[in-house]
Structures are given as C-alpha cells and as structure tokens.
C-alpha cells in the first residue's frame, strides 16, 4: 500500500536533508600475508586486497543506484600492518603502505585504513617500526590512513607511545607542509580503539574478525536537525523521542544497504555503525543540532548536556533498527568536517578545552582540529594523554586527530577540501607540558569500582 507522505518524506531526506550512507567499508584480514621477505609480504598484501575488494566499488554503485540513496565513500580496512609485517626482516615499513595505496587505487576506493599498531601495553619491534614509518608512509601515499592505539581501560596509558605519537604527528605535518599538514588528517591516536570501525581515518580490521566482512557507517545530522524543528521549545522527552525515531529510520537504511552489499559481494555482514557523521555542507552539521536545542552557539554552557542527550538517543533509536551494531556508534564532532563547528570555532566560543569536555559524552574525540604549526610535540602528546585519560576512565573510545599546520598561527585557517573540510587554527595553552611527557612509562589502569 502506497503511503504518499512516507515516500515523499524519504525523498525529501535524500534531496534536501543530506541523508546518505557515509561509507561501505570492507574489512579484509591480512594475517595470511605474513612473510619474512618484505617484498613477498607487500605483494601478498596487494594481491589479497585486490582480490577481495575487486567488486566493492561496482557493487556499492549498483546498490546506490537501485535504492536511490547516495553512498558517499567506499573504503577498505585491513589487519593492523604492525602485526602483518612483524615477521618481515626489514626496518622500513613504508613499502607496505605503498602496497595498500596501490591496491586501493586499483579497487577505486576512497580510503584504506589499517597502517596501524596496538601498543596500549607495550611496543613490539613491529610496532616500533610501524610508528617510525608513519610520517613517510602518509606523505608518500594518497589514501592510506593510519592509527595507533596508545591506551585502554584494562592496560592504562602507554606514555612512551604517547610521547612518540606527539613527535610523529609533528613530523607528519612537516612532511606534508605543502598541503597544510594534510597527512595528519589521516592519522588517529586512540584509546580503547574498536576493531570493527568502518569510519576513517581510524578504521582497521581487528585480529578477532573473520577473513572478510562488510560494514556500513550511516550519517544523517541534517535529517535529525530537520526533525527537531518540529519540536522547538518542547520538553526534552519529546526531543529524545524525535531523535530516536529519526535515528531508527536512518539506521534501517544502513542495515538495508549493508545486507544488500553483503549478499552481492558474498561476504558476511559485519556491523552498522550508528554514527551521526557530519560533512562541511550547510545543513549536515552536528553543531547545528545542538544549536537547534536552544544554544546560541555550539560550545557555550549547556553544550555537553545537549550532546549527551543527542548521543544517547541516537544509539537507543538505532539499536533496534539493526541486527548487528558496532564500530564507534555515536555523534562525531570533527571540527573541520562540520559547518557549524567551524563557525563556532571561528567565533571563539568553541575551544579545545570545551571540545575535550564534549568528548566525555560522545563519540569519538578531539577530531580534525588544526592547531598552530609551532605547537611543541610535548604539548600534542599532553593533549593525547588528556584525551586518552577521558577514554580510559570512562571505558569508552576516545581519539585525537590534530593537525599542527606548518607555518600557520591562530587567526589563520587551513583548507583540506572535500569531506575533510576547512578549519580555523585553534589556540592551545602556551604553558609547557614537557616535564610531564618526558617521564615515559605507563599510567596504570584505573579502578573499575568506587566510581566517583
């Protein structure tokens, strides 16, 4: 039975409220590509990715066409390369990133993630080599994304890894200085990283996953914002209900796309990631949702509470709509990728300190924030440590994706283009954290009882 209103509302969401599927991400295990000879290992990596993901883009495009909903990105995530290449007799891990990049190019995907290491408790030789290769790897490749997990609720914070990542981010920025430090937009430092995240730049395919699966990340801030206009001034119960219903609809679409893609590709369906992922386009912003709730500018007092409500309602609404939920699942607050966040940061209302508070109640962390190019590596490490502490103590995923834009100062801005957007340079505290970072060692895992 045709329902005129339902059909036209779906079309309106797609045409005017930026409803889209943010990504179909194919996870591919590379555990069987290990080889002592680095050239053989790189060839196996290339071959396996090409073989498994050959049909990903054509299938994604066909599903997009038939269902009439845009699927913005097609991506690949792989087993952390620090594990895959651990047995290789080489100091230089950059060729593995080049093999990933070449395979991604052949498959026609937008990004490939998994140039990664998991070092929350300690660093093996493979982990050290991978971290050392990150700046070169990100400057020499086009679509490779890298992530390093430096902390977890069970292991604590590896402060030696935190120190190295501050330096790694600085070096990556320098090597991609001609593109405003773009390399750093493809590098995430995690606490409690998840193994089935389909979103970049932090996607990798965990070792406990199967050989291959396909997951979907949904989007839809514009749809939520539009729905909330109907309950202006109403109590929060109505707000939460409206968000839940909208999230349900968005997620059902994601589930449908995931099932279709899984069936056609002949690989298992992984998860639907229930995230509200913004874009720099007007009308597709998480910050504007918070403002719709009654805040003059995102970042003012009340923002954390508004975000907590939004994040929770999105999960509650989305959970029932999918048979398997996972990944990061929550509202994203990447500054450069969100039109409202950019405006709030430019106006000076939204600061890094407020963003840090906001990350206590949402997914994922201090994301896509441009800071002055002369920010010391120790300060970046200290920001990572703060954010990791938030994740560690609250048993949630947090992440840092900072861009110390070379040669830029507060008042300047950087342009990355496309989904990565543009960002004003945000100030950091000038007081030094060097003594704190120089200590090294590990911050012990926190108590799981006596919660206060």
């Amino acid at each position: 039975m045709l329902n005129h209103h339902d059909i036209m509302s779906t079309i309106d969401m797609i045409d005017h409220q930026h409803l889209d599927i943010r990504t179909i991400t194919m996870g591919i295990s590379l555990l069987d590509c290990a080889d002592p000879d680095p050239a053989v290992c790189a060839r196996k990596i290339y071959d396996k990715i090409c073989r498994r993901a050959e049909q990903l883009v054509p299938v994604g495009c066909a599903v997009e066409r038939e269902l009439g909903i845009p699927i913005v990105n097609k991506r690949i995530s792989v087993t952390p390369i620090a594990i895959v290449a651990a047995a290789c007799q080489t100091e230089d891990f950059v060729p593995f990133a080049r093999a990933m990049d070449a395979a991604a190019e052949v498959c026609g995907v937008d990004f490939i993630g998994g140039f990664s290491a998991l070092v929350q408790k300690g660093m093996s030789t493979g982990d050290r080599r991978l971290i050392a290769a990150i700046p070169e790897a990100l400057s020499q490749t086009r679509v490779v994304c890298s992530s390093v997990n430096v902390a977890s609720t069970r292991a604590g914070i590896n402060m030696e890894a935190v120190r190295r990542m501050g330096q790694t981010i600085k070096k990556t920025a320098e090597l991609t200085a001609d593109r405003d430090g773009l390399g750093c937009a493809k590098l995430v430092v995690f606490c409690n990283a998840v193994e089935d995240n389909p979103f970049m730049a932090g996607a990798f395919y965990g070792v406990t996953e199967g050989d291959c699966s396909v997951s979907v990340g949904v989007s839809g801030p514009g749809v939520v914002c539009h729905a909330l206009q109907a309950v202006r001034g109403r109590p929060f119960e109505e707000v939460a209900e409206t968000i839940k219903k909208t999230a349900f609809r968005i997620t059902r679409t994601g589930q449908l796309v995931a099932q279709e893609a899984s069936r056609r590709l002949g690989v298992p369906f992984g998860v639907v990631d229930l995230s509200l992922a913004p874009t720099p386009a007007v009308g597709d912003s998480v910050a504007r949702i918070l403002e719709e709730l009654g805040l003059e500018v995102c970042g003012t007092h009340g923002t954390t509470a508004a975000l907590a409500l939004l994040n929770d309602a999105v999960k509650k609404g989305g959970l029932m709509a999918s048979s398997s939920v996972g990944g990061l699942s929550g509202a994203f607050i990447p500054v450069s990728e969100d039109e409202g966040m950019i405006a709030a940061a430019r106006s000076g209302v939204l600061t890094i300190d407020k963003l840090e508070a906001m990350t206590c109640v949402c997914s994922v962390g201090l994301d896509m924030i441009a800071v002055p190019g002369d920010t010391p590596a120790e300060t970046i490490s200290a920001i990572i440590a703060d954010e990791a502490a938030v994740g560690m103590v609250n048993s949630k995923t947090t992440a840092v994706r900072l861009i110390p834009a070379p040669g830029k100062r507060v008042g300047d801005s950087v342009e990355f283009g496309g989904l990565l957007g543009s960002a004003p340079i945000m100030p950091v505290h000038p007081e030094s954290s060097a003594g704190f970072i120089a200590r090294g060692g590990r911050i012990p895992a926190p108590m799981q009882s006596l919660k206060n």
């Binding site: 045709l2 339902d6 779906t10 909903i69």
Partner: protein
C-alpha cells in the same frame, strides 16, 4: 522485484499517459498509482513490478531519466525496499 517511481513537476496534460506508455513498452506492470496536484505541482507515485522480458534495473532507470529530460519533470525509480525499511517495523 518491485520498485517505486515518483514523478514530480509542473502539471500538464498527458504526464501519466506518457510515463505509462514507456513502462508498457518496457514490460513493466503498474501495480498501484497515487497522484495529487498541489498548487500546480503534479506529484505521482507508482508501485511497479517487472514482468518477464523487462530490462535490467539500470536500463529502465536510464530510459526513465531520458524521458524525464524530454518531459521537463523529475522522474526517479527506487527499489521499494528503501521505503519499507524506513517506514515499517
């Protein structure tokens, strides 16, 4: 496979006839039609089904897209599944 065709544009004589003629030629059966005119804008929603001999989805989609340009109205075809997923439990 069932699909939903939506036609939106300025009202004029013969829109339904033209779209249905194309569908008949392509061996597409019309299961249900709902149509309104609001302030001069014609909106039609059709539930259609492929019969034996019907072309591939992408072929039908491109002939509807040609027709859309020729008639100066928006015509789109989407599988019914997306609407069911979004609006039914």
């Amino acid at each position: 496979m069932k699909a939903i065709i939506t036609v939106v544009g300025p009202d004029r004589v013969g829109i339904i006839a033209e779209v249905c003629t194309l569908l008949a030629a392509q061996k597409i059966s019309v299961v249900e039609i709902s149509q309104t005119i609001m302030e001069g804008t014609f909106t039609m929603i059709m539930l259609v089904e492929a019969t034996p001999g019907a072309p591939e989805f992408s072929v039908l989609q491109s002939s509807l897209s040609d027709k859309s340009r020729e008639m100066g109205v928006s015509i789109r075809i989407q599988r019914e599944d997306i609407f069911n997923a979004m609006h039914t439990i």
